[in-house]
């Protein structure tokens, strides 16, 4: 009797149980991956513990006074970081607003058939190059280009609309607005790149279906594409905000480092990260405790932002289904 498939069984088939070496490699890789996860996780735990332990004396000594205090005077041992918290949130939110608007617009422009794909790829590369510019260079650029460029406009706004609290002071140089604008440019590549990925991930059929329903180009973008990619776009904003909150050097150079709480966009302000960077190198023991406290607060803020962000993303996803 003819057995047409016999040779498959008798000859060396590619189907065979895993050899010991394959099992070994498999296990070794799994161990390595697990080790990596544990290492990364313990790194975070150690970091938080280390900062927490060093901040503990200050937390015990002054409790919430540090968070609610507005004066930073090393001579009198008075430490308050409320102005820095305020400045961190205020500057980051403005940056998110500006950077988010331009980043998402750019992502739409580069993915929704406005440009030849090759040209779009070039533009994308250029935007991503922005991420490679060192922070100090952004700071210098801010001082020498952005501030002189916006000064006439801010003077005009202050003169004519000075009764609005946002424009209530003149821009003397470094201040909240130039810092926030430079920050917006710094987070732009993150927002643009992640939003582009989100928009690209929308299946072609969805777009075709939208056109099939008779939508115009813009209707398809605004009513179908962007809402479908909303989760990813939102994720890009959270990432951008995370970066804005922690950005240090450019802000240290541009924000004016003045411990005051003001609604005015043109007034100098302070941020937690800049405060940490500028005060650490020569801080005495009692100051270091408070700076660690401030670092803990900064970490907490970023953590809350990220958790809130991912919660909103899950919520939005559920809503769409």
């Amino acid at each position: 009797m003819k057995k047409p498939f016999l040779h498959n069984v008798e000859t060396d088939s590619i189907c065979q149980p895993p050899s010991p070496s394959v099992i070994f490699v498999d296990r070794a890789f799994r161990m390595l991956a697990r080790l990596g996860v544990i290492l990364v996780f313990s790194l975070i735990v150690v970091l938080v513990l280390e900062i927490g332990i060093k901040a503990l004396p200050s937390i015990q000594k002054s409790g919430l006074d540090v968070i609610t205090g507005t004066v930073w005077d090393v001579g009198q041992q008075k430490f308050g970081i409320l102005p820095a918290i305020w400045g961190t949130l205020y500057s980051s939110l403005i940056a998110l607003f500006v950077g988010g608007f331009f980043g998402i617009s750019m992502a739409i422009f580069l993915t929704q058939d406005f440009l030849h794909p090759r040209l779009a790829a070039i533009f994308r590369a250029i935007v991503e190059l922005l991420a490679a510019i060192p922070s100090v260079v952004y700071g210098l650029w801010g001082i020498f280009v952005v501030i002189p460029a916006i000064r006439p406009l801010t003077d005009e706004l202050n003169e004519s609309l000075g009764w609005i609290p946002f424009f209530s002071s003149t821009l003397s140089g470094p201040g909240l607005l130039p810092a926030a604008l430079v920050l917006a440019i710094m987070i732009l590549p993150t927002i643009a790149a992640v939003s582009q990925d989100a928009l690209r991930a929308v299946p072609l059929r969805t777009k075709q279906a939208a056109y099939g329903m008779g939508t115009t180009h813009w209707e398809a973008i605004l009513k179908v594409m962007v809402p479908t990619a909303a989760t990813g776009i939102f994720g890009s904003l959270v990432l951008g905000l995370g970066r804005a909150l922690g950005e240090t050097m450019a802000l240290a150079m541009l924000i004016g480092n003045s411990n005051q709480i003001s609604l005015s966009l043109f007034a100098p302000a302070n941020t937690l990260a800049a405060m940490l960077a500028l005060n650490f190198p020569e801080a005495g023991p009692s100051e270091i405790e408070v700076l660690m406290y401030a670092a803990l607060v900064l970490m907490l803020i970023t953590l809350v932002v990220n958790v809130l962000g991912s919660m909103i993303i899950t919520y939005a996803q559920r809503g769409m289904k």
Binding site: V74, G75, T170, A252, N257, P281, E282
Partner: protein, 341 residues
Amino acid sequence: MKKSFLYAVVIAVAALTLSSTSFANEKVRLIGSGASFPAPIYLSWFKSLNKANPNLIVDYQSKGSGAGVQDFLNKTVDFAASDSAMKKEDMDKVPEGVQLLPMTAGEIIVTYNLPGNPAGLKLPRDVYPDIFLGKITRWNDPKIVAANPDIKLPNMPITVVVRADSSGTTAVFTKHLSAISAEFKNTLGEGNTVNWPATNQFIKSPKNDGITATVRQTPGAIGYIEYSFAKLAKIGSALLENKEGKFVAPGNSAETLAAIKIPADMIAWEPDPDGANSYPIVTYTWMIFRKNNDDKAKAKAMREMIEYCLTEGQKTADALGYIPLPQSVVEIVRKAAANIK
């Protein structure tokens, strides 16, 4: 003849290897850290010292006076450098004994940005402390106008630019302001950081570069920086009124320094010097050594380094914007350097 040539080569090679091995044995590396204000001159000294004596390598990290003293106490460095000398309680923490040596001196200047870039703005003694207190807030304040009849002063707010980071420069500057203004002493006082008024007209910038850039870009700004930095960056400075009522430009402080008496611990401050031609804000800056070192080779290397700085080094001070030590001070420092064993 050929043979003698061969001999010569062999001897030369032997001598070379011998000498290079002896070099390798004697090589000493000293590590220091501290003040950023004298860092440019220290780095140039240590570089030329290494050229003159290849066995001696000195690494200097400019991280700030406070950090330098901290490193010194932790014994991570062989010597430290500080603009604010060293506190008594810190010195007591060093069982080996501490030897401070003034190595060079500098001035702190007040720089400004006014429309038309007028040179030689004169600032009287009752004016510039008030500017840094935030009490005089406009350039056309009658007191400034009265002192500067030749300069057209605009009706413009004064933006005060101060150091955002903790700095020996701020310490020296506020020490001077506290010496000449009781109100400054009582409200802000002196220190590496002071609690500058938190208003829209006070801006804080990091480092000398930050202050310089901000003052340049802000019409109506005023700030303080080190003279060496200003000289390098070619920045104009205001004339300050000294104790005797004269307006003096920075850059000629050798005489002023020579008049300052050096006490036994070498910590000499003169926050408000006498003399008709004295620029009012001058300061020494110190290197800090241990008196008894475990490593005698290092102690010897330190003394060599100090000797080089006192002789060859002082010659380059003027060009770099520092004040060379007066000869009398050089003698005192040389004598004190012998304590480093």
